[in-house]
């Protein structure tokens, strides 16, 4: 593992006021809600959006600016850049969401509420899967377009599929509904760990589906960056 790549990427992301502001918005509100509701459940869904914020423009911004060329002159392979930027986004998102979760737990303990350990473990594992999935999709999109075009691409895909879902619901087109739900699942891969709390066997279909989506997204990202020409003379 190349710690230099991970640390530099995270430092760069966390010196961007816009990203830090968005992350604060995502963490402060659930924290407040957890304290008001006296429950840890609002703290569960942060990791995915944080990973998206950290991974947005992970490759595309550096391709557009030209800093990726300087990085690739060093003994660093293109697949390694994709994987480490994904990994850094996941580590960053997990660090921030687990930190916020711990703050929330401390606040709840101070108010005399004792969250269930299994439930907390479920939240952390679901956060990790959500962060890994969202970051993989975002990094893949980032290899397809320059700058922050990946954000636009993701938003457009989500809005478009949502519109189609609306149309499918009105017209009772089950195939369209199913297809769009699948596409949305691919765009924000998540894995439920509810089975662990209920002491049931895991859904291997869900596990395989999540793992294959993450792997496919990273593979597409690597293949795309490997084929990409990196010179302003090429554009």
């Amino acid at each position: 593992m190349n710690r230099t790549l991970i640390a530099a990427f995270l430092r760069q992301r966390l010196t961007s006021p816009m990203r830090v502001g968005l992350i604060l918005l995502i963490t402060v509100f659930p924290l407040g809600a957890a304290v008001i509701m006296n429950s840890a459940s609002p703290l569960g869904g942060m990791a995915g959006p944080i990973a998206l914020i950290l991974a947005a423009g992970a490759i595309g911004q550096d391709v557009s600016s030209g800093t990726l060329q300087l990085l690739l002159v060093r003994p660093v392979s293109r697949p390694s850049v994709v994987v480490h930027r994904w990994l850094a986004s996941v580590i960053g998102a997990m660090g921030i969401s687990v930190g916020t979760l711990l703050l929330g737990i401390l606040a709840l303990l101070a108010r005399g509420t004792h969250p269930d350990f299994l439930d907390l473990a479920r939240m952390v594992l679901e956060s990790a899967c959500s962060a890994a999935g969202s970051a993989a999709v975002m990094v893949m999109l980032s290899t397809l377009v320059g700058g922050l075009g990946d954000v636009g691409l993701l938003a457009a895909a989500l809005i478009f599929t949502q519109l189609l879902i609306g149309l499918g619901t009105v017209e009772h087109w089950d195939v369209l509904l199913r297809a769009c739900t699948e596409v949305q699942g691919v765009l924000s891969p998540q894995l439920s760990w509810e089975w662990m709390v209920h002491r049931m066997p895991p859904s291997w279909f869900a596990v395989t589906s999540w793992a294959s989506t993450v792997t496919l997204a990273l593979a597409v990202g690597i293949a795309r960056l490997n084929r990409r020409e990196l010179s302003y003379a090429a554009s």
Binding site: T4, V73, R227, E229
Partner: protein
């Protein structure tokens, strides 16, 4: 054995969205080789294919056909990259880091030993003339010249055996240019192969062992810069204004005796056509012997400049 070999390199770009406008030929069968310890200048007009050639050598671009190898390996081999330095033309460095942090980052990426990191980075920043205060300033606040120095410092990390410099002295002050020359001289002596892409023709002529002139994706001419000794040129000789200037007839006679031709007078410069270096030496000796107060002598136009002004290449393949 050449350090870098380029054989019949062809590279084209798609024109328009999805290539509907056909393809633009950037390199049309370029063949070159670069020896260890050699400093080679690649010159040519805008759009000639210089940046594309550099892009292919650095592994940023995939050639359509042809062969590229560095010490017998692929250009994107990680062992080759560990021995490569690159100074880009567009200085888009990581603006959020300090100069020192930027150097540390590249030192780590270059897999150089961690225990010498601080020492190596400080030494290089000092070598390119960036002081301590500047090295701890954010890169985003650097001037163009400082960025150029920082980019040169990172390119020199780990004493690269292959150094690619794209417009290396653009925006650099005279002191920086002197430093650049000293650094290049040291690298060359150390056996590094240096490839310079530049429009600063006089500097290329000064620091390079060999010059490659690229035009419309082809190597139009290739020669050693020392080969200029055998080329005819116009010499501009500046005469002291504190002494009476000799009459044109007298200058014509002195020039004729030295095997040169007097071309005219435009105060305070006299212009003479000489056949080669020896002819220039004879002319200057003759002028001094005749009591003419010469203060300065320089070629009116560098032979590399003549390539740009359209002078035809001689059939032997020399530069002018």
């Amino acid at each position: 054995m050449p350090a870098i070999v380029v054989e019949n390199l062809v590279k084209s770009y798609a024109r328009g969205m999805g290539g509907i406008g056909g393809r633009v030929m950037a390199l049309a069968g370029v063949s070159l080789s670069f020896e260890p310890g050699e400093t080679v200048g690649i010159i040519g007009p805008n759009g000639a294919g210089k940046t594309t050639l550099l892009g292919c050598l650095l592994g940023f671009l995939r050639p359509d056909s042809g062969k590229l190898s560095i010490e017998g390996r692929a250009v994107d081999d990680l062992e080759i990259r560990a021995a490569t330095g690159y100074l880009p033309e567009r200085l888009v460095l990581d603006r959020w880091m300090s100069g020192m942090a930027f150097m540390h980052y590249h030192h780590a990426l270059a897999r150089l030993p961690e225990h010498t990191r601080d020492q190596d980075c400080r030494a290089l920043l000092e070598r390119v003339g960036l002081d301590r205060e500047a090295s701890f300033r954010r890169v985003g606040r650097y001037s163009r010249g400082m960025l150029q120095r920082l980019a040169l410092a990172q390119a020199l990390l780990g004493n690269p055996r292959f150094l690619y410099l794209d417009e290396p002295i653009s925006g650099v002050d005279p002191a920086g240019i002197v430093t650049f020359r000293e650094i290049l001289s040291g690298l060359s002596a150390g056996g590094a192969t240096v490839i310079i892409n530049s429009h600063q023709l006089s500097e290329v002529e000064r620091v390079c062992h060999r010059v490659v002139f690229v035009k419309q994706g082809k190597v139009e001419a290739m020669d050693t810069t020392r080969a200029g000794a055998s080329h005819a040129r116009v010499l501009r000789v500046r005469l002291s204004t504190e002494q009476p200037v000799p009459a044109p007839d007298r200058l014509t006679a002195i020039a004729a005796d030295a095997g040169a031709t007097f071309r005219g007078w435009s105060a305070p410069d006299a212009r003479f056509a000489v056949a080669d270096d020896a002819g220039a030496t004879r002319l200057l000796a003759a002028l001094l012997a005749a009591g003419v107060a010469v203060t300065e002598a320089s070629p009116e136009e560098g032979r590399l400049e003549r390539l740009f002004t359209g002078a035809p290449a001689p059939p032997t393949g020399g530069l002018s």
